[in-house]
Subunit: 133 residues, 8 copies
Amino acid sequence: MRTTSDVFHLAIPVHDLDEAQHFYVTLLGCKLARRYPDRITLDFFGDQLVCHLTEGQPPEPESLYPRHFGVTFRHAEDFEALHQCAVLRKIPFFSDVSSRFKGLVEEHRTFVLADPSGNLLEFKHYRDPRMMY
Amino acid sequence: MRTTSDVFHLAIPVHDLDEAQHFYVTLLGCKLARRYPDRITLDFFGDQLVCHLTEGQPPEPESLYPRHFGVTFRHAEDFEALHQCAVLRKIPFFSDVSSRFKGLVEEHRTFVLADPSGNLLEFKHYRDPRMMY
Amino acid sequence: MRTTSDVFHLAIPVHDLDEAQHFYVTLLGCKLARRYPDRITLDFFGDQLVCHLTEGQPPEPESLYPRHFGVTFRHAEDFEALHQCAVLRKIPFFSDVSSRFKGLVEEHRTFVLADPSGNLLEFKHYRDPRMMY
Amino acid sequence: MRTTSDVFHLAIPVHDLDEAQHFYVTLLGCKLARRYPDRITLDFFGDQLVCHLTEGQPPEPESLYPRHFGVTFRHAEDFEALHQCAVLRKIPFFSDVSSRFKGLVEEHRTFVLADPSGNLLEFKHYRDPRMMY
Amino acid sequence: MRTTSDVFHLAIPVHDLDEAQHFYVTLLGCKLARRYPDRITLDFFGDQLVCHLTEGQPPEPESLYPRHFGVTFRHAEDFEALHQCAVLRKIPFFSDVSSRFKGLVEEHRTFVLADPSGNLLEFKHYRDPRMMY
Amino acid sequence: MRTTSDVFHLAIPVHDLDEAQHFYVTLLGCKLARRYPDRITLDFFGDQLVCHLTEGQPPEPESLYPRHFGVTFRHAEDFEALHQCAVLRKIPFFSDVSSRFKGLVEEHRTFVLADPSGNLLEFKHYRDPRMMY
Amino acid sequence: MRTTSDVFHLAIPVHDLDEAQHFYVTLLGCKLARRYPDRITLDFFGDQLVCHLTEGQPPEPESLYPRHFGVTFRHAEDFEALHQCAVLRKIPFFSDVSSRFKGLVEEHRTFVLADPSGNLLEFKHYRDPRMMY
Amino acid sequence: MRTTSDVFHLAIPVHDLDEAQHFYVTLLGCKLARRYPDRITLDFFGDQLVCHLTEGQPPEPESLYPRHFGVTFRHAEDFEALHQCAVLRKIPFFSDVSSRFKGLVEEHRTFVLADPSGNLLEFKHYRDPRMMY
C-alpha cells in the first residue's frame, strides 16, 4: 500500500560529490538533505537518494537495461514540467521524449537523463495510470 | 514534495524470473503487477520495482555500498513486522538488525536482505523521522 | 491503488427487503442509501452493497467457501468494536472470533456473521497489515 | 465512513487458478498478492478479491442479478480507461457500455465483464457522485 | 482545523418521521443511519443530522434568517448536481438559485429548500473559496 | 461522503454580536472569519457558524430537544480537551459530562454548553465511532 | 516533510491592534484566532501569524529584501482569487502583479501588499510547482 | 484552510550564506532547495525559508518579541525530537525548554534557537492543539 509516511531509498555510486550535488540539486531541482565526506543524501521527488562517493572513473552509460531509476508521474503536466526543466537548464538527455507501447494499455511517454557518473534516470507518464506499476 | 500519486520506479537485473517472483511476491509479500517474457513488474511497498531478466550468473553480493535500495519506515511497528516476515519465511539476511550512528541524530535500525540475483535490500527505521532523507 | 473516491460495489440476493434493512442498518449499523421496490442500496463500511430482492427461500449457509464478503480492518480496535456490536445486538454468529494461520505472517483474527438470506460476512484483522491483500 | 486503511474483501469461486490469474492480472491489470494451491488473492482496485478453487464446471452467466461486483469510479476518465483496457486486451464483454436511468438523478454508464468462471463484474460511473451508494 | 474524523451534528424538530425520512433520504439523497421511535439520524453530506419527532403542526417557513443550515460546496459542479437533483425530484424550492453580493469578494450562488417541517436548507457556492467561512 | 473541502454551515440567532464573539472566539476558541453590522461568521471546528443579530431578549434554554448543535469528536482526547477548556475558562455548563446509552452500542459521553443567546451546544464522544452518525 | 498537522508561526511587529485586525481579517480575509491586550493571533492561510503591539511609528516599507513573508499558491486560481480580493477591497499594493525570472524554471508571478505597520506580504505562483521551495 | 499544496514562505536577512547553510541544513536538518550568489532557499519543515545575504554585522538577538518564527508541532514527540537534535548537535539555545501559560488553555512548551545572524526560531507544543492558532 502506497503511503506518504514511508520513504523509498536508493543508494547509487557517484565519482564526485560536487558534481553530483550540482546535477541533482542545481540542475534537476532536488533538495540536499545532508552532506557527509563520503556521500550526499537527497530528497529526490519525495523519496531518498543517497550518492556514495566511489573510486575510479564513471562508466559510460550504454543501455537503459537492466539498471535505471526515476519517477512515473501521475499527471502529464508534472512530466512535462520536468522535461521543460531539463531543456531550460541544458541537462544532457540520454534519450529525449518518445512513446513506447503505442496502441497498448501500457502506452507511455518517457525520457532518460544521465547523471555525471553515468547513472540513468527515466521519467515516465502513462496514459492509463493503472499501468504505473 | 512527497505525493501519493507519483510512483518511484527502479529497474534491477535478475537472472531468473521465477526465482525473482518467488522472492519478491511469495516471500517478501510484494504484489505482482505484470509479467512479460523478459521482466516482471512489482508493486514494491507502493513504488514500482522492475526485474529485468539478465544473462549470466548472479554476482555474490559483497558490500552494501554503493548500490542498494529499500524502504525507510516511518513507524517502528512496520519495520518490525517486515523483519518478522523475513524471519518467519526464512528469507536469508545479508545482515540482521543492528543500530547505526548511536547517539547521533541520524541513529537508526537497519537490516539487509539479498535477493537471488544478489541485489541488496535495506530496510530502516530512524529514531528521528526528519532523518529519513 | 486504493483510493477514497472510488467505491467497491457488491450485489447480493436477499429474500425480504425489510429483513435485509433490519439486519444491515438496525443491527450492523450500515447506512441506508436508497430503497426501491426490488432492492436496497447500502453504504457498507464506505463501499456499496446492493441487496436485490430474490424469489424463493433463503438457503442455509453451509460453508464460508467459496463465497463470502466483508471488511479487513487496519486497526484492531475497529475489529473489536464491530465484534462488540454483534454481541450487544445479538447478531447471530456463523462462527465467533478465532485465529487463523497462527505463527505465519498471514496470521489474523476473524469472525463470521450470516444475514437473514444466508449471505456470509467475514470480518478480519491481520497482525501484519501487509497481508490484508 | 469510507477509509483508505480498511479493505473490502470478497471471496468468489473460480474453476482454474491459472485462468483466473490470467484474467484478473494479465488482462484486467489487477495485482497478484498471494498464490496458494487452493486460491489466489488479488489487489483488486485497492480492495481484496480472493479466488477460491472450486470443483466442477463454471456456470454460464445468465443475469447480472442478483449477484455481481465491481467498482464505481468517481471520475469518468477512470471508467473510460478501464473500458479502453477491456477493448485493447479483448476481454469479452457480458454487455458493453450503456446508460441506465436516463433523466433521473441515478443516471450512470455501465459495462459488464465476465471472468472465465462466469463471475460478472460491473463497472459504473454516475453523473452525480452522491448516487454512488 | 477542519478534519475528516470529527463530525458536526445538528438536531432539528420534525413533525413526522416518515415524511422526514422521505424528504432527506428518498428525495435529497442523504443516508439513513439509525431510526428510533422518536427520531432518525442521518448522514447529511458527511455530517450528522438528527430529526427529533416534535408535537404540533409544522410552522410555515417565513424567513431564511436567523435560522437555517446547509452545505457550502467547494466545487461548483457539486452545487449544480444537488440543484439538478432538487429539480429532477421536484423538491420544492423556498427560493431558487440566485447570486448574492455581486461584485464583492463574498459573491456566491445560493438556493434554499424547505423540509416538510418548515426547516430551511441553504446550499451555497462561493466564487472565492476563502469566503466559505 | 465526508469531505475536507465542503463546509457545513449553520445560522443561528444571537442578541448581541459582542457577546456572541466573546463566547465563541474568546471562550470557546473558535475563529472569527468575518464581522458585519448584522452578523458574525465563525470557523466553528472547521465548519461555518453564522450568528445573526436578532431583536428581543434571548430565551432561557429549557431542553436539549429538539434543537441543538455541536461536534462529535472521533478521538477522546479532543473531547476531553474541549471539556477542560470549558472548565478553565468557566464557560457555564447547561449539563456537565455524563454517559448515555450505557451498555448499548450507541454509548457515548456528552456535555452541553449554552451560549449567551440560549443556543445549546452539545459535544460528544462515542465508544464506537461508527455510531457518530 | 510538509504536513497538515504542524503549523508554521511567524511573529511580527504592529503598531495598532485594531488596524492590524482590520487589515488581516476584514480586508485580507484571514481569521482571528485570539486577541490579547498586547497581540492578536491569526489563522493566516492555515498557518499562525502573531501581531505583537510595538511602540513607536510604523516604518515606511522600502524594499522587499531581505524581510517579507507570504504564501506560494500551488494553483493559479488561488493566486488570482487573492489578487482579486485585494483589488475589490482596495488593499494598497506595494507592487502589483509581475513576472520574475521569465524563461527560467524559476519563473513565477508575484504581487506584494503592505500592512499598516509596513510589513510586506508577497504572494506567488510558480509555473513549475517544484520551484516553490 | 490549511492545505498541503500551498507553501508559506518567509524571507530573512543573513550575513553569510555558508554559515546560514551550515546552521539550517547541517545542524537543524532542513533541506537546501536552491543556492544563488545572494541567497539560499530552504525547505524548512515543509515551508519555504529564504535567507538573503545582507551587508553589515549580524545584530545580537535581544528579545523574542516582536519578531521571530518557527513551528508549532502537533505531536509532542516531534517537538521533543527537534529539541534532542538541538542538544546532540550543540545548537546554541537562546532559551531552553520552558512552559508558558501554565494552568491556562494556552499552556505550551517552547524553546528558542538563534541562527548565526541573530534570527530567533521558536518551536512550540500546545497541550490543547486548538490553541496552535
